[in-house]
Each structure stands twice: as structure tokens, then as C-alpha cells.
Symmetry: C2
């Protein structure tokens, strides 16, 4: 079976050097990325890819949240550096890398729309977005020109979780404890951001926008009962906002928008949630992805375990091919 | 098949009157509960129960968060009023109700431990706790005497989500929008609170404490890959806390604690997440529950749909009986 890995992470050299020099790069983020050589060492990364037959990667930057590293004066240049670096790696290694997603300077919304347009014209196969910008939402009107650009391109958004530790676990606390913010908070914020894309009417305004949610939809498929029945009752719990009016003004049932999103298989190689997630989104809306190299082996671990889980599933040949490579071909524009 | 419904909601009369008179009861909470008569009308509630053969309910109060309704001077009396009211309803209707859980005044920790002791001696079959108290955490040392009382009793905690709207969706916002706080935030906070029970070492200190998490574990089963592999790497992302040291000082692997928790089937009658959740916790740790009467029909809807989903699953007779009533019998002390 051919596999196109739709969502995995790599930092091209010029960008990686700049990252390490940034204030955050000299602290936790730097500590984390330095410890995973396949995240920036191209030779090593190629060797990881070569372990798997008929397998290529669509590269995404290490993390899309460049707004955590630099201010809005610098991020436009840094996004360009990252995107051109990824383009070069892909162009130079077509047997390993089938394409790449571009990042945009979300703390500078006008520049974000511009960089998306430039990168997509330059061959980027998707735009990678974090679910928040410096912890704040991404459904505000200042970002709608960006979504218009992406919708027009026909290429998808790759939505990566971004919840910051400054989002505490409970009222009255200053920050999240025990890395709960990333372990649980990331897939939670994925669900939150998908919801906000619906209720802010981004999806009604840009109905052809394709949003691929990392980690198989975050928390959404498991909360199927709630995003259907509970959102159907939106307004019953609230009196200070007209949420019933909002719900009725949407073009579709809230649940139907959730089913229209796309998702990838990057859930660290577990089986029962994979069955649940594929059942929710359907084979037309799921893309194989590994999240390489964030496994314990720092490279091949999740590729191997995710392929093994997919091989263990009872799927029709048609469904399997769509998930493993055909959806990626169509959405990314890859042969 | 016999069914004992482990987690569903009812407000006994005296307590319900007090709730409506409380400041919050005169606003959103009052609006919400008044609209669901089977939540407080005993005759109507009995008729809901009678629709299902060989089916009884273990009653829990409408919501455990009495700290949102009254200050710490009043909640001890209000908890007593609620618990004695539930005891009376159960005693007077043994064919409909197999038992009840008690609430405790969590905004008054010393009184909470005392009321738990009193209610359990008086026959309460469980203690219902919210995942937060006025939005704050429940793993602080002030609550440990309560957990000691509950562990000693052998009866379980029924853990109900409680995330408040004051927990915003993103940094820089004042409150959650679009009821995301309850639709997605509730199962998220369930996962957060289970995590905090582990990492605060409540579970190491009270290893026989049984925690039944409402809504089939919140978000935990779907995040199986993260609560295993990501928590195994706890400490790698953080430099200002010694989370690696904390992880190594735990008696078990973080993942094993999650597997030791219990969960109920109250997920609004959907099938794929049910399979995923039962796979995660195992038949010994799942209890049938409906969340009655919070369905669109305001009573029988989730009972019917949850039974239908369970009947559609391929389970051994042994596993099915455990889930449907035997685990409840053992944990609640019901014949």
C-alpha cells in the first residue's frame, strides 16, 4: 500500500537556526526540539522515511505557532524563511517528500493572508495553522481574508493544536499543571476551534474551506453525542446571549459541520479511537498521518504503529486507499 | 436484562424549592431546570422509569455544584436537605429507585467530609462530586479528609463535570462562548480532574478510592495515545517544574491509573464512542447510566437509546451483566 503522510513535522535549517536564537528557543522550546534530531537533521530524517516502503511525507513546520517566538514585525520574514526552506527540502528530495504545508504570521493578520497567497502560488500544498494565536482565538474577522485566500486556492488548512500553558486547568490558577495543557488541552482546543469556526460563521461564509484537524479531530468524535444532541439544544442553558437565534440562523445543523471537517490518523498508534474517529469522519475525510518524529523513538515509532493499526482494520480497498493516499493526493494536489 | 441506571438526575421537592429561591436559581439555572419536569416531578419521574422493564435508577441530585447556588455558610444545610430528600424518595419508591448518591458542600471542605460521613452512614450509595468547586480544583489537601472518608466507606465517587462559563475558550476572553464550556468543556474537565487526582497523588494515597467518571471517562478513552505515550514523556516539555521527578515518584505508570478509573455509559446513546470507551475501561469498570432526563424528550430518550446501543454490541453474557447491573450492585451495595 502506498502511504502519503499528511501531517508530520520538520524544521528546515535556516529557520531552525533562527528558532534556537529566539528568546523562547533558548528556553523550553529549544530544549524540546534539540532533543529530537529528526526534527531538523535532514540526513537523519531521510533515513527515517527510507525505513518504510512506498511512503512519503508532506512536511509541516515543527510547530505553526511562530507567534510564540517572534513579534508581528518579525514573523512575516520568519514564515517566509520557513516556507521557502520547506519548499527547498521538498524540491531537493522528491522521493522522500511529496509536498509541504506553509505557516503564516498569525500575529500579523494582513501579512498572514499575503504570505498564504505567496506560499500557495509558490507550490505549498496546504496552510498549517495553530488553533490559537498567542493563546487567543483565530475566528475573528481580521483572519477572514486569510480564509478567503485559502478557500480560493482549493488547498486545505492543516489545523495544529496550540493551547498555551497560560490557559490554566481551573479558575483561580495561573497556568496549567502537569503538562495537561498539551496532553489533554491540545485535542480539546482543536475541538473548541472547530466549534468556533462553525458558530462564528466562517464555515457558512467559506463553505469550500477544507479543515484537516490533527489527531483525528481532537476530542470531537468521542463527543459525538454532545456535538449532536447538546449543540442541538444550544440556547437552553443561556439567557444573556441569543444562542438559540444563532443556531437557527446557521445554514446547517451544528453536527453536520463537524462531520464535514477532515481529520488525520495521528493518534500515536492506538486502535479503538482510530475505529471511532474513522466511523465519525468517514473514509472520504480521513488522511493517513503519523506526527513523526514525536514518538519515543524520535522518528519511526508512530509511522510504524499507525500503519500497523490501519492494517488491522477491516476496510474496503476503496476506503483504505482513500485514507492511506488518495485523499492526500486530491487535497494536496499530489500525483 | 436487568438494568441499574448508575447516573441520572433528580431534585427532591424541598431541595428543589430552595434551589429556585437561590440567586442563581432565579436566573439561568432556574430557567434550565424548570423546563425539565422529570427532574423534580416525582410522579412524572416514576412514569419514565416504568416505561422500561426490569429497570431501576440510582438517583443523583440535578447537579452536584451546590457551591454555585449558596455560600459555605448555607451549603452544609442544603446538602443535608438534598441528601435526606433523596433518601426519602428512594425509601418510598423501592421498585423505581435502587439507591442514591449524596452531595457534599465542597465550598466548605471540613463540612464536606462530615456530610459525606453522615450521608454514607445514613445509607447513601455513593458521593457525587463536581469536577470543580466554583471553577477551582478539587485535588487540594483540604479535600483529602473527604477522600479518606469515601475510601473507607467502600462506596464510589460519581464524578460529574462542572466546568464554569468563566473558564474562557482562549486567553484574553472573559467567558466561554456558544456553550462550548458545557458541550466540550465538561468532558474535558473530567479528563483534567482525573489527571489531577493522579498527579496530586490522591490515588497513591487512597488507592482503594473508586472514581466513576460520568460520560464514559470524558475525553480520556479517545486520548488513549496521549495519556499513555505523552504522559510517559512528562517533563520533556517543561523546565520550570520537576515533572520528570514527579512522574518517576508515582507508584504506577500514569496510564495505569487512568485504566483503573471507572466510567458510565451516559454518552447520549451513540455507538462508536461506546465501543471505544468500553474497550478502554473494560467491562469490569463500566456502569450502565443514562443521564436521564437530559434528553430532548426530557426523560426516556437516553435510557432507550443507551439500552439500544448496548444491545447492539457484541459482548459476552458476563461482560454485559457486569455493565448493565452487576458492577452497580457491587459498588453501590445493592441487592
Amino acid at each position: 500500500m502506498r502511504y502519503i503522510d499528511a501531517f508530520n513535522h520538520f524544521n528546515p535549517k535556516g529557520y531552525f537556526d533562527a528558532l534556537l536564537e529566539s528568546p523562547a528557543g533558548q528556553k523550553d522550546i529549544g530544549k524540546r526540539v534539540r532533543g529530537i534530531p529528526a526534527l531538523y537533521d535532514l540526513d537523519l530524517r531521510r533515513k527515517v522515511v527510507e525505513q518504510f516502503p512506498d511512503y512519503t511525507q508532506v512536511l509541516s513546520l515543527g510547530l505553526p505557532m511562530i507567534d510564540r517566538l517572534w513579534g508581528p514585525d518579525k514573523t512575516p520574514d520568519m514564515a517566509k524563511l520557513a516556507n521557502d526552506g520547506l519548499a527547498e527540502v521538498v524540491a531537493g528530495n522528491p522521493k522522500h517528500f511529496a509536498g509541504y504545508s506553509a505557516v503564516v504570521p498569525m500575529n500579523n493578520p494582513a501579512a498572514a493572508a499575503k504570505e498564504a497567497e505567496r506560499a500557495l502560488k509558490n507550490g505549498a500544498n496546504a496552510i498549517q495553522l495553530g488553533t490559537s494565536v498567542n493563546g487567543g482565538p483565530i475566528d475573528g474577522k481580521e483572519y477572514w481574508p486569510l480564509y478567503e485566500v485559502i478557500e480560493k486556492s482549493g488547498r486545505p488548512i492543516l489545523l495544529h493544536p496550540a493551547r498555551a500553558r497560560e490557559m490554566p486547568d481551573y479558575v483561580g490558577e495561573e497556568k496549567s499543571k502537569y503538562e495537561i495543557c498539551s496532553v489533554l488541552g491540545w485535542p480539546y482546543e482543536t475541538g473548541v476551534t472547530l466549534s468556533r469556526f462553525i458558530f462564528s460563521k466562517i464555515m457558512d461564509t467559506y463553505p469550500n474551506l477544507k479543515v484537516v484537524s490533527h489527531h483525528l479531530g481532537g476530542v470531537i468524535p468521542y463527543l459525538e453525542g454532545r456535538v449532536s444532541h447538546s449543540f442541538d439544544q444550544m440556547g437552553a442553558r443561556t439567557s444573556d446571549e441569543d444562542y438559540e437565534g444563532l443556531r437557527k440562523s446557521l445554514k446547517k445543523r451544528p453536527f453536520d459541520y463537524f462531520k464535514d471537517f477532515y481529520a488525520d490518523t495521528a493518534i500515536e498508534g492506538v486502535r479503538a479511537p482510530m475505529v471511532c474517529g474513522i466511523e465519525f469522519f468517514g473514509a472520504d475525510h480521513v488522511l493517513f498521518a503519523s506526527d513523526c518524529p514525536f514518538d519515543k523513538e524520535k522518528g519511526p515509532g508512530y509511522i510504524r504503529s499507525t500503519i500497523a493499526v490501519l492494517e488491522s482494520l477491516e476496510l474496503t480497498t476503496d476506503a483504505r486507499e482513500k485514507i492511506c493516499f488518495r485523499n492526500a493526493q486530491a487535497m494536496f494536489g499530489i500525483k
